[in-house]
């Protein structure tokens, strides 16, 4: 009886007081009471103190990956030719409900350009020539016609110079509009012998080279088509035109970009990557806050990383390869540095889409600083103790690798504006209260 009365009382009382259990902790308006008083410092680590090795590696992908061509002649020293191979010709055609064999009597090549740069108000002379030796669209360059595992054959004359002229014409359709960067097309006739030569099935020497004859010109060739003229055998009075799309398209540039010395290159086609192996310094110069006026070396391992940024300075890109549209550049970890240049890469570090750099910074406004986050690559926190800093190898590459002939250029160790690593570190200064 006594117990039941008591227990009946206790529970409502318990509820009454627990209802007041909500905590409202007073928050002091300053940190005088707190023992942890961290310092946050910014350190700029020069190139020599954090970079162990730099490799500029080219050859990723092929010019044929672009899907369009480049034609130029002495455009600020840059020349380029586009080389195409056409699909096999059809053997027959449907005509009036009947199938008829064909007799090819000639044709024309239709070229479409989406960017034309040249002397203002002047037509641009174009030449078509037929290749005379086998070439490989994946490996063809100005110097080399084939560069495969078991075959490396140079052009008899660089730039497929031994090709035979089969047609020419003046491109002037762009003159009606803006003289620069406007759409233009041209149709150039080719004779029946040329058509017959290009129709040889399985011939690796089949090919057409498109070149400019006028200096200071540069054109982007976005489409090429061979339009065959044929007479159906069942109706010799009729001429039909049969479009033949290209089966392979690539381009050759001169001069070929050589491996840069002392500076960084990213992008292009075949693409370039700048591979940097870095190691965080164990110690950096401490600030006055940490070291006092006399200065000291500050132990990085005692800090937490708030930010790590690679700061690159742009430089003017070589003529013919200057970006004309913004270039997105990303950083990825090299997962197996010993396997370079074929090492797999990790996910992008920092912005997934990469850092977008305006083309002017690779032209007349060179010298712009571009910031790439490395925080996630180097991220370390207080709980990682004891901490040792291992080497990290990462690649700078175009976010849209293989989509542009243009590449980015950054200053390297040999120039002013060399790469700098910015670190923002917070140093926990532990107090002594329990």
């Amino acid at each position: 009886m006594i117990k039941s009365h008591f227990v009946r009382l206790l529970f409502p009382l318990g509820f009454l007081f627990l209802a007041n259990c909500s905590e409202n902790v007073a928050t002091a308006p300053d940190l005088d009471l707190i023992d942890v008083k961290p310092y946050t410092i910014e350190v700029l680590v020069p190139f020599a103190d954090f970079v162990q090795e730099v490799n500029i590696v080219g050859g990723y992908g092929s010019s044929s990956d672009l899907g369009s061509g480049v034609v130029a002649k002495d455009f600020n020293g840059f020349s380029a030719k586009t080389i195409v191979r056409f699909n096999p010709y059809p053997e027959s055609v449907e005509l009036g409900g009947s199938t008829s064999g064909l007799k090819f009597i000639g044709g024309r090549v239709v070229l479409a350009f989406d960017s034309v740069q040249g002397p203002t108000g002047e037509a641009i002379g174009l030449q078509l020539s037929a290749t005379q030796q086998a070439w490989d669209s994946k490996t063809v360059t100005w110097e080399v016609a084939v560069d495969t595992v078991d075959d490396k054959t140079s052009w008899v004359q660089p730039g497929a110079g031994s090709s035979v002229l089969v047609g020419s014409g003046d491109l002037d359709s762009h003159l009606a509009g803006d003289s620069v960067k406007s759409f233009a097309s041209i149709s150039i006739d080719v004779d029946s012998a040329t058509v017959a030569a290009w129709g040889g099935e399985g011939s690796y020497s089949q090919g057409m080279v498109v070149a400019s004859t006028d200096p200071a010109t540069r054109l982007n060739l976005w489409d090429a088509q061979l339009v065959l003229k044929a007479i159906p055998l069942i109706n010799a009075d009729t001429i039909v035109e049969i479009p033949i799309p290209v089966s392979a398209l690539s381009f050759m540039v001169d001069p070929m970009p050589t491996n840069p010395g002392g500076w960084l290159r990213v992008g292009g086609l075949p693409a370039w990557r700048s591979i940097i192996t870095m190691k965080l310094p164990e110690q950096v110069k401490g600030s006055v806050e940490i070291c006092g006026d006399s200065g000291c070396l500050f132990d990085v391992s005692k800090s937490q990383l708030n930010l790590a940024e690679l700061i690159l300075t742009t430089r003017e890109t070589e003529a013919g390869f200057k970006p004309t549209t913004p270039l997105a550049i990303q950083i990825r970890s090299v997962l197996s540095p010993s396997s370079l240049p074929k090492s797999p890469l990790g996910d992008p570090i920092g912005l997934q889409q990469g850092v977008l750099v305006q083309p002017k910074f690779f032209d007349n406004e060179e010298g712009e600083q571009i910031f790439f986050s490395l925080t996630d690559l180097l991220g370390f926190s207080d709980g990682d103790s004891p901490r040792t800093f291992t080497s990290n190898t990462f690649a700078l590459l175009s976010s849209d690798e293989g989509s542009s002939l243009d590449f980015a250029s950054f200053q390297g160790s040999d120039n002013s504006g060399f790469p700098v690593l910015r670190l923002i570190l917070t140093v926990p200064k532990q107090g002594i209260s329990p």
């Binding site: 009365h5 206790l10 007041n20 259990c21 409202n24 940190l31 942890v36 937490q304 708030n306 923002i424």
Partner: protein
Amino acid sequence: MRSFWIGCILLVTSPQLSEAQSLLGSSGLGMKLDPIDATQRALGGVGLSGRTPTILPGDPTASLDLLASTASFTLQPMWGSYKLGVDEGEFSGTRFPILGMAFPLGTSGVATFTLNSFFDQNSAAAAGDTLQLMGADIPITDQSDLLGGLSALRMGWAQRFSSSIAIGASAGVYTGSVKRNFVRSFDLDSLPTLGTLKDFSKNETSTYSGPLVSVNLSWNPHSLLQLGGSVQWSGAIALSPIEGSIGEKEVIRAPIELKVASNWILGPGLFLNAGLSSSDWSNSGYPGLDAVAVGRTNTYGIGLEWEATRFWSGIFPLRLGFRKSTMPFQFKGQEVKERNVSLGFSVVLAEVFELPIAAIDVAVEAGKHSASDFEENFNRVTVTLRAGNR
């Protein structure tokens, strides 16, 4: 009944509910939280020589008059407001300062088991600032939270040697932990071109451990007067980082704590209670504590108890008290004083042979903490539930 006490234990050991809330929790070992039940709170007592048979940590003689095995549970809601310079705020929370059990051994002895708090370390601070980084002024916020406390788990024994003298002793261990969390965040919302700065954070948790022993004496030199005294000795309190936390094991030398108290029968149903306790934390051997320790600090209190009438199952005592103390640790370089007045009563819930075996004791205090430009006004309710089992 068993399930009720299991629930009580869970409440005491629940860190969220055991939080204190005053800004004073940030200094030294935190805010002193005396292991005093509601009867002593109401009388301004120091936890010694009460008339009411109860369970007091460090004073097993207080349990000698319990008729039956008894469990007690004290809870303490507290709320108030503070002013620190131009800043003001409010706080509230509930603490559970004592959990105890007593087992009479015959008619002249008693064994006790208690778990009580000593210091509450619970505070928060936030401050904004600006740092010059990356060529810009970047706003930052530093947020610090401290959560934990120092408690004691003890086993005691008391023996009455004559009608006027009883001696008690208790031994136990310090326990508890403190968790520190600090975050510095960077506000780059207004500077989107600067990217993202990761927060700096630091988390550390340490546990307390160490022995403590106390002896106490209860002496009735006169039929109207009861005197009591106790000495509490503590061994080194080890402050050990738990796994994953950085730091070395540290040792804190806790001081000897002295208490004296008296209870005088002024007249029929009217009693005067007075007490004094003293300790000195300035020689702990731990630089962080010594730097903020005030030196010898005293707590004294005085109170009246009047057995006004009978209510429910027994006597209904009313209590009135005053208490003044100095906190052992400075707050922002200043001594902190506490003054409070208290009112209280007890309701006897069950009696056997006119002796109480279950009761609720209630104390209501209104007080103030003050130190230079810091002032904290608080209200504190202390409720002790006592239940015997025949």
